[in-house]
Amino acid sequence: MKPPLFTYYLANSVEDAVQQLAENPGARIIAGGQSLIPAMNFRLASPDMLVDIGKIPGLNKISIISGAVVVGANVRHRDLELSSEVFAVQPILRQAIVNVAHVPIRHRGTSVGSICHADAAAETPMILILTDGWVTVTGPGGSRKIKAQDLFKFHMTTAIDPDEMAVSAHFPILPDGAGCSFREFSRRKGDYALAAVGAIVKIDNQGRFETVRLAACGIASTPKRLTHAEDALIGQKMNQSVLDRAAKVAGQYVTAPDDTLATNAYRRHLLSGLLKDVVAQAAGLKAEVPT
């Protein structure tokens, strides 16, 4: 398995990379390459040109700016996972990223690259939806912001135009007083999730769900926000029947067809169990969910 022939271009700035994309319609950006290179080795992808953004200065920064963790296009999964500054303001990122493949892959794979690759079972795109984040992309006409809810169109398909490059991803920080949790189920350590759920939950002083955000991946052609399950929780006090109802409602989001790994019914079952777990954990009541 060797990659097909392509022209290699080492970009020295974002503008330089975007110009190459505009001039060469068959060109693709390469950053960490942990998804693109295997796809090319298998000849599932054969771009005419690879525009390497790996050496563009300034793209490997993580910063926390006006309420969001800003992740540059060359930031590796491992850096985001290990950053104590990031963990202090948005712990869901570490909770999710430790499930991405294995350490040697996380050493090179980039978080923004994973978002652009848009595998429907991948963790990072789902966390972008869960946190109500966005990406900043630059194209020939300048820069624009694409909100997570508008970004993911289908398996490996995003709203980023072929002549645009994602420059950064923005993950809003955890709201004051909220808790978060992430869990996934996969057949082997490091595999893509058969189903994964993330929750951001805030309980008011009467013990009711004040804010609930839920998202899942591995269950449909894109990561999904589970709005109807959120609605089933908001304003309610935590108890087993409320959790059961939310988990049942979430089943409607599972549209993945039966495949060699799992049936649709099995994925619904997983989603239901994972959802109850993460909501209880995020609410800080793991030990004692009143029945």
Partner: protein, 177 residues
């Protein structure tokens, strides 16, 4: 027999592909080579440089046999183009033993504990563990912790039990964890 193969000789490969000149530091030695832009780093190391200790298994990032250390971090050499390694500092399994062939503490532990049988996965295994040892992070030396550490390296012979013993022995001798 030399334990540190001479890597100063450029092994020419016949190809009409577009090429690019790269400089990198491989096992402490600066080298400059002209490579086909589509050659994988794993193939570059094996074929252009002649260091065959880095093994190539699945070529899509699953088996971990090709794991090497790039800029102090373990990475899959099959998931990277050689041209992406321009300017990088790389260690392969050939850097692990002394120049006289003395095994490193980690290699000796694999030998003592029978942490290998066919040996195909061992170079990738050792490079991955070496990167964890050198990272400065606190290591979890429980069975579960070591299994997590080596979860990206597949071994079809040992059943992993003796690899866990080897990693723990080496970690203790080196004061890690």
């Amino acid at each position: 027999m030399s334990y540190r193969p001479d890597i100063s000789i450029d092994i020419p490969t016949e190809s009409a592909d577009p090429t690019r000149k790269i400089n990198l530091k491989l096992n402490g030695q600066e080298i400059t080579r002209v490579v086909s832009t589509r050659v994988l780093l794993s193939d570059f190391i094996r074929h252009n440089v002649g260091l065959t200790g880095t093994h190539v298994g699945c070529e899509h990032g699953v088996c971990g046999a090709c794991t090497i250390i790039i800029n102090e971090r373990s990475s899959r050499s099959c998931l990277m183009l050689a041209v992406q390694a321009d300017g990088a500092e790389i260690q392969t399994i050939e850097s692990e033993c002394g120049s006289d062939g003395t095994l490193s503490v980690l290699q000796q532990a694999f030998m003592d504990c029978h942490g290998l049988q066919c040996g195909f996965c061992t170079p990738g295994m050792i490079m991955n563990i070496r990167s964890h040892f050198n990272s400065g992070e606190k290591l979890d030396l429980s069975d579960e912790g070591i299994r997590e550490m080596i979860s990206g390296n597949l071994c079809r012979c040992t059943g992993y039990a003796n690899i866990l013993l080897a990693v723990r022995q080496a970690a203790k001798q080196l004061g890690k964890g």
